[in-house]
């Protein structure tokens, strides 16, 4: 299947600062693709290039197999960096402009998307009178207008309260179920981990990794064990063959194995034979946060 987006060797500098260094990856159709990275890692620069706001120094990209153009952008609902609207116009009037430029949606759709983001009651208020969260909701409404197949969200939950964050997360899940491709930049790891199927991690303009979330996260198996005497447990497990590292965390001991090599039965038997009865034995998935810090820390 042709990827929705393919990026080949994109580089971009601002003077002496290299914002992106030869970045390449592909976004498969129907994926929720998270672009992760600390502040200043190049996430927004990347999305800006893909939407023709910035010009890449080198490299190419293709949407739906075609070079980026106004026609490809019209098919993509995008929220880039901040909600950008005419301050003196109402939500409805602003969406009329979005609709007229992109050709996406109808008058009825405008009401519909405002209902989705819960702005229907304030649809005739001026944008300048909106709170930060309401502005963000309007930007999401604009992206949803006309039900595009591809959505680009740059920090979609910026400025939202906890309820708003949960609602947007739910909305993204629903969109994914309906087969939309969603490209989402974020530095909120929890947010990405909860909704994304694929991810790319950027650091100082370099792509560290990209792929399916499971693949990226599970480059090792983590087995968590515990017993009445964790210190003794750790010293016994030191003799267990095949692990790559071992750590004691409070009452629990974590044993790390190369991916696919952890065998719980063998660990259980080994401990039992050494006279230790385990009260905990489970395989832990590495959290995105752990992985992220591992990759991005110098």
């Amino acid at each position: 299947m042709q990827p929705v987006l393919s990026i080949n060797g994109i580089s971009k500098s601002y003077g002496s600062i290299k914002a992106l260094k030869n970045v390449s990856f592909e976004v498969p159709e129907g994926s929720v693709f998270g672009i992760l990275g600390p502040n200043g890692s190049g996430k927004t620069t990347m999305l800006s290039i893909l939407l023709d706001i910035l010009k890449a120094d080198s490299g190419t990209f293709a949407w739906f197999g075609q070079p980026g153009s106004p026609e490809t952008r019209k098919k993509i609902g995008s929220l880039l960096e901040t909600p950008n609207f005419y301050h003196y116009l109402s939500a409805v009037d602003n969406l009329h402009i979005t609709q007229a430029i992109s050709g996406r949606g109808t008058d009825a759709d405008i009401d519909h998307v405002l209902e989705i983001v819960k702005l229907a009651e304030r649809k005739h208020s001026k944008f300048s009178a909106y709170s930060l969260g309401m502005k963000q909701r309007l930007a999401i409404a604009a992206a949803l207008l006309g039900n595009p197949q591809v959505l680009v969200f740059d920090e979609p939950t910026n400025g939202l309260d906890p309820v708003g964050i949960a609602e947007i997360r739910e909305l993204i899940r629903e969109l994914a179920i309906r087969g939309k491709t969603i490209i989402m930049a974020s530095h909120l790891l929890d947010e990405v981990e909860k909704v994304c199927t694929h991810l790319a991690i950027l650091k100082k303009g370099t792509l560290l990794t990209a792929g399916q979330v499971d693949e990226v996260l599970s480059n090792e198996d983590i087995v968590e064990v515990s017993s009445g005497d964790p210190d003794h447990l750790k010293s016994v497990l030191n003799e267990f063959p095949g692990y790559s590292s071992i750590k004691q965390e409070g009452k629990n001991v974590r044993v790390f194995f190369p991916v696919g090599t952890a065998k719980l039965e063998e660990i259980n038997r080994f401990c039992f034979e050494k006279g230790i009865t385990l009260n905990l034995l489970s395989v832990k998935k590495k959290s995105l946060e752990t992985k992220f810090f591992e990759l991005t820390n110098d």
């Binding site: 019209k74 950008n84 005419y86 003196y88 007229a100």
Partner: protein, 274 residues
Amino acid sequence: MLTLIKIEWLKIKKYPAFWWMLGIVALTYPGVNSMFYYGYEKATNGKEMTNNIAKFLLGNPFSFPESWHSVAYFSSFFILLPSILVIMLVTNEYNFKTHRQNIIDGWSRQQYITSKLFDVLIVSLIVTLVYVLAAAGFGVYADSSSVSQWTAQLQYIPLFLLQTFAQLSIAFLLGYLVKKAFIALGIFLFYYLVVENIAVAYARFKLNDIGRFLPFEISDRIIPAPAFFSRFGKDAKASYDHALSLIPEHVIYTILLTTAIWLICYAVHKRRDL
């Protein structure tokens, strides 16, 4: 094309500053000309010899067909009013970051500049309409016996439109490049009111009038001072006739400069990061 104009109209029609500026222009143009008109009335309406001399010298600059020329000349002093609006229209886009959003939503960079060109054209047409109404009003009011001559000197309508569009294009370029409304307005007012006037006056006496090639002066010269200025002696007549003879040349310079301004905008916008 029509879609671009419709979208720009969606942006402009609810912009309060647009209507304020339109109202101010609609009051200023007739207002300023009224001041000159009443000055003229006062000077010529008495029964004394001086009044008759004044009438003889001035003719009636506000009767047809001369009103097309006089009203265009006096109104053109106030180009800075619509200029403020044009600068606001372009710097607002930076301020709201909608210059980015318009592209994200699917405009090409070229379409963005074309839409702004239409903004400047729309404002120029509205200002020209106000001028036409004012000039026609004065023509009818000042001397009803000359109404039949209204078709002479109609060339001042397209000349006024060209001058307005050319000077508003300079304002646009400034707003487009500077991006910040107050800085652009400051530079515009200082240059338009102070720098260029001094430079033109200096060049007229010392530098073989090379000041006529300065940005605003190029198009200022397509509407020279009204005919009555030529009635104050032989030199004045010669200088008026010379100014009239330069109009076609300055029309070409104006078109060239304005074309260059827009080509610069298209070229810069095609390449620059937004």
